[in-house]
Structures are given as C-alpha cells and as structure tokens.
C-alpha cells in the first residue's frame, strides 16, 4: 500500500517542547512555526539551549523539569488527538454503513431465510435492535454506550460484540506482532549485511527487497504452504498450535513488509555511512562492524520506526487475507463475515479496535522515536 510513500516524520504533531525558557531572545526565529523558509542564520534552536559556559546547574535541572512537563503535555495532546481520530472513524463507519441498501431491513439483518415475518414481528425485532429510533438518536445511543465500554450486541450472533471480538483480537495481535518482529529482523539483518557494501553484495540485497515488497500476500502465503507445508511438511497446512502454527502466516505478512522496511533502512543506513560523523568514528579506530552497529544502524531505524507505526493498517488488512488462507481465527475473519451479513455493531466494533490499535501504536512509536532520536525532544517538531 505505501510502498513509495516516504514515511511521515511521525512526531509531526508534536507540540513545541522544551524551548520555552531556554532560548534567549535573539534566537527567536527558531521558534517560528518550523518550515524551510526560516532565516538561514537563525542559530539552530538548540545551539543556545546550553548557554555559553557558566550556566549554573539549577538551570539544567529546570530544563529537565521542563522537558518532563513538555513530554506530558505532548502525551496528553497526542491521546486527545487519538480519541478524536477514533471518534471520527466510528462516526464515519456508522453513517457509511447505513448507506448499505437495506441496512436496517430486518429481513437482511436476521437472515429470516425467506420466511415471511408479520409486521408485529418486524416491529418487535426493530425495537429490540434499537432501529425504531431516528438515525441521529441511534447514533447518540451508540456513542453513549460506547463511553461506558459497551460495544453493543451483534445482530446476528445475539452476543455482546466485546465477547465475540475479545478472543479474536488476541489471535490477530499475536499474528501481527510476530509478523512485525520477523519483518524487523529480516530488514535489519539484510541492511547490516548488505547495505553500503560493494556492489556485488549490495545489489542482491536491493533486488531481494524490491521483489519482496511487490509480493502479494495471498500468493506468497499459498506458495509458502506449497513448499514448506505440502512439499516438505515442516509446518502444518492450517491451524496448528503454538509457534509452528504461526510461522508461515507470520512470514507471509512479514516478507513483503520486510521488503518495504528494508528499502527505508537501507537508504538511511547508506546515507548515515556517508556522514562526517562516521568518518570521525572510523578515525577514532572503530571497526567497520562497530560503525555499523553503534552509529549507522540507529540512524537507519528512525524512518523504519515511523513507517512501522503507519504500517499497522496495512498489517491488519493483511491479516484478513492471511487468516483466510491459513484458516486462523482472528478479527480478519470476523470482519469478513460481519460485512457480508451487515452486522453493523460487529463491523463498528472492528473499526473501533482497528482505530484504537492504530492510535496506540502511533503513540508508542512517537515515544520510541523520542528515545531513539533525542533531537525531536529538543526541537519539538
């Protein structure tokens, strides 16, 4: 999906942090909304953060306290924005699904198998499902319940949505998490081994990554099954418990993702290797491996991390396909069934799960981002 998209600097919504008290007046242009047209001689905002030598220690402590406060503000704003995203997503889903022809027809909803229902029966069912109110009222009721943690009741299965989704979420999380882990391992190994080396080694790395990124998951899954399950019997064809059952599905998701991540890490890794600080490090006597591990890798992981945060939607989309191929339980299969049967509460439940998942992951990524790249904390952008 996002093969070509350069990863958004994931901290872009960050509030300006930490600069409030420590920037002397003359460096003010730096706190202008950051953009490229900033005056060129405006000292980088941080240059003044540690004022020329005799700055007393209390000052440093105050800076740190400010940093903590700025971080908490950032977190609060981020969570607030995340709630906004979830709310809009739910509303969009709610009204969009009502566009489905016959969305509120009881016949479709409860799958009456062609039996004619009496008007009284229909009315009873409608009242039961809350469909006798106007759309806005239904929306209000839904949101009201949502706040108390009630995701509603599935039309079809007549069970609370949270009960249906609960166990499935775990299975999907397991799959997506393992896949992300595999993808990172594959991408990192490929970058460390082949990036920034001579062409004879680098080119195969590049080629493998770009091919991996073009593989359709459903086909890759089938081919893995064909070779490793049907051909060599290393892994079960479907189901399977424990680790052996998850390897093939996770790989199916991980390989294309590793291709995408690998392309990013390779680019920034190679870029980092050409930086003067790498020359400085080599000139200190560091070995090639140390340079790669201690310096270049960290720089390479930054865009990959941002991308991983964004790839959550992609991963969840992929689990739908993979769960289908490998006959695994999970929310992918639930949504497939729910959309087909127009089970509104269930679909909305999945939408909420996906949106919350995305928001959580992007907050975690933002925090990790700040840990890996402390410059963000300083610049606030």
């Amino acid at each position: 999906m996002t093969q070509s998209s350069p990863p958004r600097a994931s901290g872009s919504e960050a509030v300006p942090a930490g600069t409030e008290t420590s920037v002397p007046a003359f460096a003010a242009p730096a706190s202008e909304p950051a953009h490229a047209s900033e005056p060129a001689d405006a000292a980088p905002p941080a240059a003044a953060a540690l004022p020329s030598p005799p700055a007393a220690d209390p000052r440093a402590r105050a800076d740190r306290r400010d940093d903590t406060r700025a971080f908490l503000t950032f977190l609060a704003l981020r969570i607030l924005a995340g709630l906004g995203v979830v709310l809009v997503a739910v509303s969009l889903g709610f009204f969009l699904l009502r566009l489905v022809p016959g969305a509120d027809s009881v016949q479709t909803l409860i799958g009456a198998n062609g039996r004619a229902l009496t008007n009284e029966q229909i009315a009873a069912v409608r009242a039961d499902l809350g469909l006798d109110h106007s759309l806005i009222v239904q929306y209000g009721i839904y949101l009201g319940k949502l706040v108390t943690g009630d995701l509603g009741t599935s039309y079809l299965q007549r069970q609370p949505v949270s009960l249906i989704l609960g166990p499935q979420i775990l299975s999907t999380l397991q799959l997506a998490g393992t896949a992300l882990g595999f993808a990172w391992i594959l991408a990192t190994v490929s970058t460390l081994l082949t990036a920034g080396r001579r062409r004879l080694i680098e080119t195969p790395g590049r080629v493998v990554e770009i091919i991996a990124a073009s593989l359709p998951q459903f086909w890759l899954g089938l081919m893995l099954l064909l070779v490793f399950a049907i051909g060599w019997h290393w892994f079960p064809v479907s189901g399977g418990t424990g680790f052996s059952g998850i390897v093939l599905p996770a790989l199916t998701l991980a390989i294309p993702l590793a291709g995408l991540i690998g392309q990013l890490t390779r680019e920034s890794f190679t870029e980092a290797l050409d930086q003067p600080f790498v020359l400085s490090a080599r000139a200190r006597g560091l070995s090639d491996l140390s340079v790669r591990f201690r310096h270049a890798l960290r720089h390479a992981l930054i865009p990959a991390l941002a991308f991983s945060g964004q790839s959550i939607g992609w991963l969840l989309g992929g689990t739908l396909v993979v769960e289908e191929i490998f006959a695994r339980p999970g929310i992918g299969r639930v949504i497939f069934a729910a959309v087909n049967s127009r089970d509104l509460p269930l679909v909305l439940g999945v939408v909420i799960v996906v949106a919350v998942g995305y928001v959580l992951v992007s907050i975690i990524v933002d925090i990790l981002y700040r840990i890996i790249d402390p410059r963000i904390g300083v610049n606030g952008a």
Binding site: E20, V23, P24, A25, F26, A27, A28, P29, S31, E32, S37, P39, A40, D41, A42, A43, P44, A46, A47, A48, A49, L50, S52, P53, P54, A55, D57, A60, Q275, P276, F277, L279, S280, A281, R282, A283, R284, G285, L286, S287, S290, R294, H295, R298, H299, I372, D373, P374, R375, V378
Partner: protein
C-alpha cells in the same frame, strides 16, 4: 594520558598518489606525487581550493582516503612505521591512538544521536584502553584539554545542544582522547563565527606548544598564515608551491599562489580588482542615475531607508530584530555584518519584502515599501531584487538557465520598459548572460550542472532581468572558493558602476564587507551595535563587540 613524546617526524610522505574510480569505471587521479612531513610541535598546512585534493591526501595518512580510492606512495611513514603495507587491523590501531582527525562542523562530525561523552570514550574503548572509571576520568581530561570549563556539564549533552564553539571543542576532545601526537585538522574552523574561530585557532596553538604535530587543511589563507610553519599550496592535485609559511605568503613564486593571495579582500586594496579577469564592458543603462561620486546630498537621493524596523516571531516577546534604522544613498553599498543569530537574514527577508516588520517602516526612494500590501507591491516589486546565498535552491527546479532568465523577463514584460516580444526576450536573456560574464553556450544547461560561481552569476543575471534599482545580496559569496568569490565581487562592482545600482550586502565575513561597502552596519543579537563609514567602523571601531570582531579576522601575512 600523557602524550607520548616521539621526537622524529610524525609523518613523512613522498610520492603520494591517490586515484579514484568513477562510476563509469574510468580512473581519475586526485593527488599526484605529493610529499610533506609533519614534525612534533610544528604545523604543516595543505592549502587549496575545492577539488585540490588536500583532504584526500591528509586522510591517506590514516587509511581513510575514501570510497574507491587507491593510494600509492614511495614513502608513507606514520610515526616511523611504514604504513604502505598496513593491514586493516594495523590501521585501526593507529587511528585515534597515534593520529587524531578533526573535521569541520561538529554538528555533523559528531553523531547527533549520541552524547558527547559516549563519542569521546568511543576512542578509548576502540583501543581497549583503561577501565570504565579511568575512561570516564580521561573523557573529562580530554574535554578540559580542548578548553571546556566544567567538563562534566558536557558529557551527557549531544552535539546539537551545544553552541558552535562548544561542539567544535568537543570534536577536538574526541580526537585527543586516546592521546595521539599527530593531529589532522581538516578545515577545523570553517563553519564557525569569526570570534569563535579566533578562540579555536588559539587552542590549536596551545596544542602545538604541547608537542602535538598538526597537519592543517584549509582553504583560508588567513587561518593558514596565522598557524602554519610550513605551507604546501595544492592546485588540482599537484603541489604548486611549498616552503615556510612566511616565504610562501609574503613572497609567493607561483602565479597560482599570487592569484590566490590577490583574491583575498584586504582593506589596503579596497576598490581594486580581486581577480585577474578584465572588467566587463557593460553598457550603462539609458538614463542611469549618476553614480555615487556625485551623491553629495545624501538625503535627497536615498535609495533605501529603514526607520525603527523590528521583527518579533513569537508571542513570548522574543525578537529577531529590533529598532534598526539606516539610509542607503543611491548607487552606494551598505554592508550588513553579523554572526549567526544576529538577525541579518531576517533583515534580508524584510528588505526583500518576503516578510513584514512588526514595527517601523522601510521605504524605497522615499515611497512606502514594507507598508504596502502584497498586491500593492506587485507593480514596484522589480525595483528591489534579492540574490541568495544558495542560488540553486532559489531556482525553480524545472528551469534551465535560459528559462530562469526568460521567466524573470516575462513576469516584468508588462511594466514600463518591459519586453513583450518573445524573440527580443530571448535576445535580452542572452545579453544578460554575457553581461554577467557567462558564455551563451550555457543557456540550455540545467543549473545542477553548473559550478557554484556560475550559478551565482545566473542568479545575478536573473535579478538584473527585472531592471532593479536595489539589490539585496544575502551572503552571495559565502559558499564560494576565494578565487571565485573574487570574480563575483569584481562583477558586482562592475555592475554597480555601470548601472548605478544600490547594494545592501549582507555577510558574516568582515574582510568581504570592508571590501565592498561604503557604509557598514554591525548587527548583534538583532540590534544595531554600530553604523558608519566602512573605514571608520572597521579600522577604528567604537563598539567593544565590533573591536572583538575586527580583532578576530585572521590575516594571511604573519605579523612581523
């Protein structure tokens, strides 16, 4: 760790030759037959412009000549050991421990993600030096040796959190940490402000006095004259001239060296030409205003005037510029000088009307300028044009040289004196190219394929296409080599004389400012600290800060 006292030459090089492989497989020789030596307690300098092979030569001493490099030499001794047959492991063992490397601009030369302390102790761990505690102590020592007071304060900071001078000292500390006696300093002060540069140069002198041998690489003859004992002038990978610093800089034998020296702006030769190129024949504009010589009555003929101009960027009350006032008589040059953070670029944007002042007003020929709305300004905008430091980013990436000029002509086609005829526009564009000393053969090239000097000429030609009265020159020569800088400065002077232009010339370089300006404005922290006649301000400064600035200028000729 005390510096090991090695008394022989720290490095001896003869017949050094470095070749690079190009992407298409062909070979190019970057350095031919170079020889030099570095003695303890002495500074040897390699001087040259970009592409002269000076960095590559120096880095060959630690086996880091670069990707695709093949290095050969008749002699390559580092601390008495023949380095020609060094293995990887042997190279690593001398890097950092026997030879330290100091690069330019610590912002990029120290890992921005790692604390300074970790960077410095990296030099120690790489050589399995000491224990955790002794290493920590050594890191603090190294920071102190590099002239940082209270070194504990810097250990956990990252390069981005320090000022330019502090981080350059941290960079020097990381090179000193493992106790190398030989230091390679590659343009170690190039990115620094003038006053900070002076302090770092002092530090190098102290290091030399402590017995370090230093191989200094610089394009700046002023820096070299200040520090070096021995100088090698490189041009296109060959030694053009070598000898003691005094000899080379005061009595240069090679024409190349003489031209380099002549290219450096110097107060004693103000107004004279810096480059060997003859003045360009530029036809004066019909009805061009009378040049500066007769501009006796200043107030009657003021091109640009600022009154109490200030610019605030945030609600917090921080300001970039406050209360700036000046008048620039028609046909003269006002030099605006300041260090980073002085607000000079903000002033450039205000003058170019790319930004609006919060307080005060700028007028052009007595008419409102900054007070106009964007819409009102459009008809008069062409009168004030801007030339930027980085011309490439100021060109529309779609445009070739000719289209850059045509674009400017077309925008101004409907104004009085504009050219509407397509063929005439093209002819005018080519004429402009000739005027700025460029061959018309370049018309169809993309700016990406031009050199820095050529790009700046195109930028000047584009400004001229608008038939301006005033040019805002924002660090127009800062990114250029000295000899190219000389040519561009000469061109600007020719154009001013022929066309009666008024310049507002912004720069951090006092020598350049002194060379070009009639009057000078000194900015600091967004305020004007001094303004007056150029000679007055720069030779007899009244303000303490200006005095400090002037004192910091390194002069190429060693003081007798």
């Amino acid at each position: 760790m005390t510096t090991r006292e090695y008394t022989g030459p720290l490095a001896e090089v003869e017949g050094l030759r470095v070749e690079f492989e190009r992407a298409d497989g062909s070979r190019i020789t970057a350095v031919h037959d170079l020889g030099f030596s570095v003695e303890p307690g002495k500074i040897t300098a390699l001087v040259g412009e970009s592409g002269s092979g000076k960095s590559v030569s120096a880095r060959s001493l630690i086996g880091l000549a670069g990707q695709g490099a093949r290095v050969g030499a008749e002699r390559l001794d580092v601390l008495g050991r023949d380095a020609r047959a060094f293995t990887d492991r042997q190279w690593r063992s001398i890097r950092g421990r026997e030879v330290g490397l100091i690069l330019q601009d610590a912002l990029t030369s120290l890992d921005p993600l790692r604390p300074i302390g970790r960077e410095i102790s990296g030099a120690l761990t790489a050589h399995r030096w000491g224990t955790r505690d002794t290493r920590r102590a050594r890191v603090l020592d190294a920071l102190a040796e590099a002239g940082l007071d209270q070194p504990e304060r810097y250990v956990r900071a990252r390069s981005g959190e320090l000022s330019g001078g502090q981080r350059q000292r941290a960079l020097i500390a990381q090179a000193l940490a493992a106790g190398p006696q030989l230091l390679i300093a590659d343009e170690p002060t190039t990115a620094l402000d003038m006053t900070v540069q002076a302090q770092i140069l002092d530090l190098f002198e102290r290091l030399r006095d402590r017995g370090h041998g230093i191989l200094l690489i610089s394009h700046d003859l002023g820096v070299v004259g200040r520090l070096a004992d021995t100088v090698l002038v490189l041009g296109e990978g060959r030694v053009v001239e070598s000898g003691s610093a005094r000899e080379v800089l005061t009595a240069p034998r090679a024409e190349y060296t003489r031209a380099l020296l002549r290219a450096i702006p110097d107060p004693s030769r103000r107004g004279q030409r810096l480059s060997a190129a003859p003045p360009l024949a530029i036809e004066g504009r019909a009805g061009a205003p009378v040049p500066a010589s007769t501009a006796g009555d200043v107030t009657a003929d003021t091109a640009v005037s600022a009154r109490g101009v200030g610019r605030t960027y945030t609600a917090r009350g921080g300001f970039a510029l406050a209360d700036i006032s000046f008048d620039v008589p028609r046909g003269t040059t006002l030099g605006i000088v300041g260090e980073s953070g002085s607000g000079k670029s903000t002033l450039a944007r205000l003058l170019g009307a790319l930004d609006t002042p919060n307080t005060g007003e700028i007028t052009v020929f007595g008419e409102p300028w900054s007070a106009l709305s964007n819409r009102e300004r459009v008809p008069v905008r062409h009168r004030v044009q801007v030339v930027y430091q980085d011309p490439l980013s100021s060109f529309d990436p779609r445009h070739r040289v000719i289209t850059i000029l045509l674009d400017a002509l077309r925008v101004n086609a409907d104004r009085p004196g504009g050219i509407t005829d397509r063929a005439a526009q093209r002819a005018r564009a080519l004429e402009l190219l000739t005027q700025v000393g460029l061959s018309t053969d370049l018309a169809d090239r993309h700016p990406l394929s031009l050199s820095g000097g050529q790009r700046q000429r195109v930028a000047i030609a584009r400004a001229l296409a608008c038939a301006p009265d005033v040019l805002i020159l924002d660090e127009p020569v800062s990114a250029l080599d000295v000899s190219v800088q000389a040519q561009v400065l000469d061109l600007l002077q020719d154009l001013q004389r022929a066309l009666g232009l008024t310049y507002l010339f912004i720069s951090h370089d006092l020598a350049v400012i002194h060379h070009v300006s009639d009057r000078v404005l000194v900015l600091r922290h967004g305020r004007a600290v001094e303004i007056g006649e150029a000679d007055q301000v720069l030779q007899h400064p009244e303000n303490a800060y200006t005095r400090e600035l002037v004192a910091a200028i390194p002069h190429p000729l060693p003081t007798p």
